[in-house]
């Protein structure tokens, strides 16, 4: 799935000591890869052909973004591990994605709500990273933010269609909100690595992203005729390696070929 690239993304100067940048870039990579995998599970099972294609397209964008991050992470680490080693040969406890993106697809409403929560964060984070002093992160953000804006538009429109649709679609979306809302908070809760990068000015303080994210959510929920969910107890842990049971099953499928036939290429 990730063929060897014959040229690396232009090298930024790697840090002499393994700083907080490596775990953070790895976290971005894992997040995009795991969500891409979840979306690709819909391939051939979408509710209609056009939306099946939409999910495959979004999965592909995220997979491409993940590759850029993994290549950069491998370079930052400087231990000879490749992008494929990082994606295929790490166990669940080493993965750094937030819990939200590993949650199962369930029905289309769950998939849409998961996507909406992620896209609303992802788009605003990438916008902020455009001015990141780390030039490689800024370059990846410049490439990906265009795609992320399409994703957010797509998932926002679907939240509105389902919420303001039929009693059945609305009820399914309400169920998805009840299941998934608790995973949103982790996205904007900084880990120690993220805090260190925020202090260095590499990352924005996540509090500065919240007003735009909340305004967009309020707008979409109003259009969807849905009440804004009240505060919930946020579930956290994925970004520090404490995952739900779902990730192990996902990785056993994602990593099957490399685990079974180490070093396999095609």
């Amino acid at each position: 799935m990730l063929p060897q690239n014959d040229s690396r993304v232009a090298a930024a100067t790697p840090a002499a000591a393994p700083g907080p940048l490596f775990p953070f870039v790895l976290q971005l990579a894992d997040t995009s890869l795991i969500l891409a995998h979840r979306l690709s599970e819909w391939c051939g099972h979408g509710p209609v052909l056009e939306q099946d294609l939409a999910m495959a397209n979004i999965a592909l964008d995220l997979l491409g973004e993940a590759r850029s991050y993994y290549q950069y992470a491998a370079e930052l680490e400087g231990q000879g591990r490749t992008e494929d080693d990082l994606a295929y040969l790490r166990s669940a406890v080493e993965y750094r994605n937030p819990l939200l993106v590993e949650q199962p697809n369930n029905d289309f409403a769950h998939t849409i709500l998961r996507q909406f929560l992620f896209d609303n964060f992802h788009y605003h984070l990438l916008k902020a990273l455009l001015t990141c002093p780390d030039t490689q992160l800024a370059a990846i953000a410049e490439k990906s933010v265009k795609e992320a804006s399409y994703h957010l538009k797509w998932s926002s429109e679907w939240v509105i269609r389902l919420g303001d649709g039929t009693p059945e679609s609305r009820q399914r979306l309400e169920k998805a909100i009840a299941t998934l809302w608790r995973f949103g908070e982790e996205l904007t809760t900084a880990t120690p690595s993220e805090k260190a990068l925020q202090e260095l000015g590499v990352l924005p303080d996540y509090a500065t992203l919240l007003p735009a994210m909340q305004a967009h959510t309020a707008y979409v929920f109003a259009e969807a005729t849905l009440p804004l969910p009240g505060p919930v107890f946020g579930q956290q842990g994925g970004k520090t390696g404490r995952h739900t049971e779902h990730l192990g099953y996902l990785l056993s499928e994602l990593q099957y070929m490399q685990r079974t036939y180490p070093g396999l290429t095609w």
Binding site: E50, L53, N57, R67, E142, K146, W154, E157, V220, E223
Partner: protein
């Protein structure tokens, strides 16, 4: 193998004109605007390319085809450099490329109509001309088409479904 004369940049550009996009074979990679630079230093040729979309699966094929085309002229010392910034935009697609696209049955990008803006929910569809009957009486079926770079449209006059190479900037 042909014995190579010292490569010149102009010659390399000429050769790259003959490398086509594997997904839209009527377009050369120069029409598409993904070759950003060619540099020759001694016998080493560096070609800088930029992906259209992050996950574009054609990029590896394109890199291989560039190598093969140059190798056919005896140039074996080739470095392909992937550059992400500045990010590719449809503004870089040549006029000739746009005409070839339409003749091939894919509506070319309409400049200045990037519709990805997140606040433009359920916004008006871009008016795209049907590549078959040339009517602008068309509608968007899905923002996501057969490849990452295309949206799916249908003509309301001749009813033909067609791909639209979406504006991306």
């Amino acid at each position: 193998m042909v014995t190579a004369a010292a490569p010149t940049e102009a010659h390399i550009w000429q050769l790259l004109e003959e490398v086509s996009d594997p997904e839209v074979p009527v377009l050369s990679i120069l029409d598409l605007g993904i070759v950003r630079a060619v540099a020759v230093a001694g016998d080493q040729i560096t070609v800088t390319i930029t992906p259209t979309y992050s996950g574009c699966p054609a990029m590896n094929v394109i890199a291989t085809e560039i190598r093969l085309r140059l190798l056919a002229e005896g140039y074996s010392n080739v470095v392909i450099h992937n550059q992400l910034s500045p990010a590719w935009t449809t503004d870089w697609m040549s006029q000739a490329g746009r005409e070839k696209l339409e003749a091939y049955g894919i509506a070319p990008p309409v400049d200045g109509t990037a519709t990805g803006h997140v606040l433009n929910l359920f916004g008006k569809d871009t008016a795209v001309r049907c590549p078959v009957c040339k009517s602008t009486h068309t509608h968007l079926v899905s923002q996501f088409g057969s490849t990452a770079c295309k949206a799916h449209y249908q003509c309301d006059d001749c009813l033909e479904p067609f791909d639209y190479f979406k504006c991306h900037n």
